[in-house]
């Protein structure tokens, strides 16, 4: 990667509006993000924050209502047919629910050989079998011959998710969008799945957009990458993972981190909690004015926060935060 290479994925002021009962729902509002090749970026937030919609726009499954999605510097929705197809192969998405994303009528071999044969990656079934075996080994499904002829219902949740990953790997993607890919599996399986994904990132140099509601998982998966926190469709904080986890600045990020229960009784019972002014999550149909976090925010200042949307402002250390109050305090310190 050269210093001036275009980001492999770039969101440039991207928005997405859905229609619901003739009302406009802004699922994603003016999100910009540049991801370099080989990087790991976690999109974190609670349900309804727009992280999945953002992931689907990165994978080209949803058209943005505004802004541009670029792959290697090119607007994906202005690409020619062949170019678009190459992009679609290069950016693969792994969905949350491995029960829903694998065709129940096909065997593991059928599921995995289809893209190999379809895209001419292998010439025949003999080669396909070899390649499928290799890929199953890559996702720790060994010996692969035990799994080739199994149907999804004969596999455990963890194994199904491994097949989803192996299927994504058939087309040698450069980018994997993993949408809550480890959320539905049991604790004891989750770690080995995370470790396996981590190995893909290291060994194959795959770029990861890792979408999760779980900041602890984000911390462990993206310690060397970045975390972007979303709230009601907007990105409100982004920075290097250790900074976000250890020195969060946006009051929402701080509230989230302080609210997370920890699997250690001494830590979790002594953790300082940030109190919110309200527990109610506003509806996307009726977003608060200005900063949409203002009705809940402990730093709320009347005449400021409800008036205008705070821009993402540079706070140093590679962190950007969208908060009027934090930005002002920061400016004071600097002065």
């Amino acid at each position: 990667m050269t210093a001036n290479a275009a980001p492999i994925i770039e969101l440039d002021h991207v928005s997405r509006v859905f229609e619901q009962r003739r009302k406009q729902v802004k699922a994603v509002d003016d999100v910009s993000l540049a991801v370099q090749e080989g990087e790991v970026v976690c999109l974190v937030g609670e349900s309804g924050c727009g992280k999945t919609t953002t992931g689907k726009m990165i994978a080209g499954l949803i058209h943005p209502s505004g802004g541009e999605v670029r792959y290697a510097g090119k607007n994906i929705w202005a690409m020619g047919k062949d170019e678009f197809q190459r992009y679609r192969l290069a950016v693969q998405i792994i969905h949350q629910d491995p029960y829903a994303s694998l065709n129940p009528a096909h065997t593991v071999y059928g599921i995995m050989s289809a893209p190999l044969l379809q895209h001419g990656i292998v010439a025949n079934h003999k080669q396909a079998r070899e390649r499928v075996r290799d890929l199953l080994r890559t996702v720790d499904m060994t010996p692969p011959d035990d799994f080739l002829d199994k149907y999804p219902h004969q596999l455990s949740g963890g194994q199904r998710q491994r097949v989803s990953v192996a299927r994504a790997l058939t087309v040698s993607p450069k980018v994997i969008v993993a949408d809550e890919a480890v959320s539905m599996v049991d604790v004891s399986i989750r770690v080995s799945l995370l470790n396996m994904l981590g190995r893909l990132k290291r060994d194959l140099g795959v770029t990861f957009i890792f979408i999760t509601h779980d900041l602890a998982v984000a911390k462990h998966f993206a310690w060397e990458g970045r975390i972007a926190v979303m709230y009601l469709g907007r990105m409100i904080e982004i920075g290097r993972t250790p900074q976000i986890i250890n020195h969060p600045q946006h009051p929402y990020t701080r509230a989230l981190l302080s609210a997370i229960p920890e699997a250690d009784p001494r830590i979790t019972r002594t953790k300082e909690r940030l109190q919110l002014r309200s527990l109610d999550i506003p509806s996307l149909l009726n977003l608060p004015s200005g900063c949409s976090f203002h009705p809940r925010c402990p730093l709320f200042e009347e005449g400021l926060c409800e008036v205008s949307v705070p821009p993402l402002a540079d706070m140093g250390e590679g962190t950007r935060v969208a908060c009027h109050v934090v930005a002002r305090e920061r400016a004071k310190e600097a002065a």
């Binding site: 349900s47 049991d186 995370l194 602890a216 920890e262 009784p265 909690r273 527990l279």
Partner: protein
């Protein structure tokens, strides 16, 4: 009675050698296999296990709400209150109706959807009270207002709402209040925070914590989430393959686990606070409850397993002041 678990005074609930089975196409599912424990008066006990471990079946058996196909093969469940005792498995229909809700209330998983969608919240409280012989509507209303306040809801708003007008977290708190309506001595919560967002989870946790100091009841909660146990439990029982494999104080379980499964579980959950430490994964897959492994059910996944583990099933034995574990090698298990 199982060896050990004896506390000062009478327990609220005593379970002895309980076995529950379900017929299935492939054979008999042994969902609960010889479970013994006591619920002490006023304590919070967490039953922690992964999906398919039998923890929900165990909870359902305690209030005799098992599906028709299930069979309690053997065992005893004794309930104590004010010096008298009841054999739960011997109750007739009328006694059972009184036992449930007045003595022992259960809030189910996904209970946010358990409210009647066409009744206002107040009517649901009145219905429940009436079904249990509380005819005085004014008294019920007063009690409802008091309980809703206790779970941090605004009674004026919530009582006149329909369930769909409330958020998931609010519905969960309504159900906890409803469970408390008839002042039961034992409350069982199945996955009380699963599927709730982090900040909503936090509000439910805080409500439970506050209730525990305000009211006199014993609480069992069933969860796959270790951090919830670390937050709320006085004691924790680890459930694996239908059996309790370890039980002890929350600090012993997290800091000095003696069963390799408990140890592995506590080491596989990432924390947000604290240093980055590598996560340990548990090899293998969850056990098959139709043909559980011979000997110790955990042996195929256990790093300590020996020939003895493959042939003889260990029973719970005392491993600390107030800690029992079912492992032949508990003395070798070191965190």
């Amino acid at each position: 009675m199982s060896e050990g678990v004896k506390a000062a005074g009478e327990p609220a609930l005593l379970v002895e050698d309980l076995w529950v089975e379900y017929p299935a196409r492939r054979g008999v599912v042994k969902a609960v296999r010889g479970v013994s424990f006591e619920l002490r008066r006023g304590e919070t006990l967490a039953l922690i296990g992964e999906s398919g471990s039998g923890k929900t079946t165990l909870g359902l058996a305690l209030v005799r709400l098992l599906p028709k196909a299930a069979r309690i093969k053997q065992g005893r469940i004794m309930y104590y209150r004010n010096g008298s005792s009841q054999d739960v498995l011997a109750l007739n229909a009328e006694e059972l109706r009184r036992f449930r809700w007045q003595e022992c209330a259960m809030v189910f998983q996904g209970a946010q959807n358990a409210l009647n969608p066409v009744l206002r919240i107040e009517a649901q409280f009145l219905d429940t009270a009436r079904a249990h012989g509380m005819a005085n509507a004014n008294a019920v209303r007063e009690r409802t207002i008091e309980l809703l306040k206790m779970v941090q809801l605004d009674p004026q708003r919530v009582m006149h709402s329909f369930p769909h007008e409330l958020s998931g977290g609010m519905r969960q708190r309504v159900l906890i209040a409803l469970g408390l309506l008839l002042q039961p001595q034992v409350i069982i919560l199945d996955e009380p925070t699963t599927a709730l967002d982090i900040l909503t989870q936090r509000s439910v946790i805080e409500v439970l914590r506050r209730l525990r100091t305000q009211l006199d009841f014993s609480l069992i909660f069933i969860s796959h989430d270790l951090s919830l146990a670390a937050e709320l439990a006085d004691r924790v029982a680890t459930v694996y393959a239908g059996a309790i494999v370890e039980i002890g104080s929350v600090y012993d379980i997290f800091e000095r686990p003696r069963h390799p499964y408990t140890l592995a579980l506590t080491r596989s959950v990432p924390t947000v606070t604290g240093e980055m430490h590598p996560l340990a994964s548990i090899p293998g897959s969850p056990p098959d409850l139709i043909n559980p492994p011979l000997g110790c059910a955990f042996h195929p996944r256990c790093p300590y397993a020996t020939d003895q583990c493959r042939s003889q099933e260990p029973r719970l034995e005392r491993v600390g002041d107030d800690q029992l574990a079912a492992c032949w090698h508990w003395q070798e298990v070191k965190p």
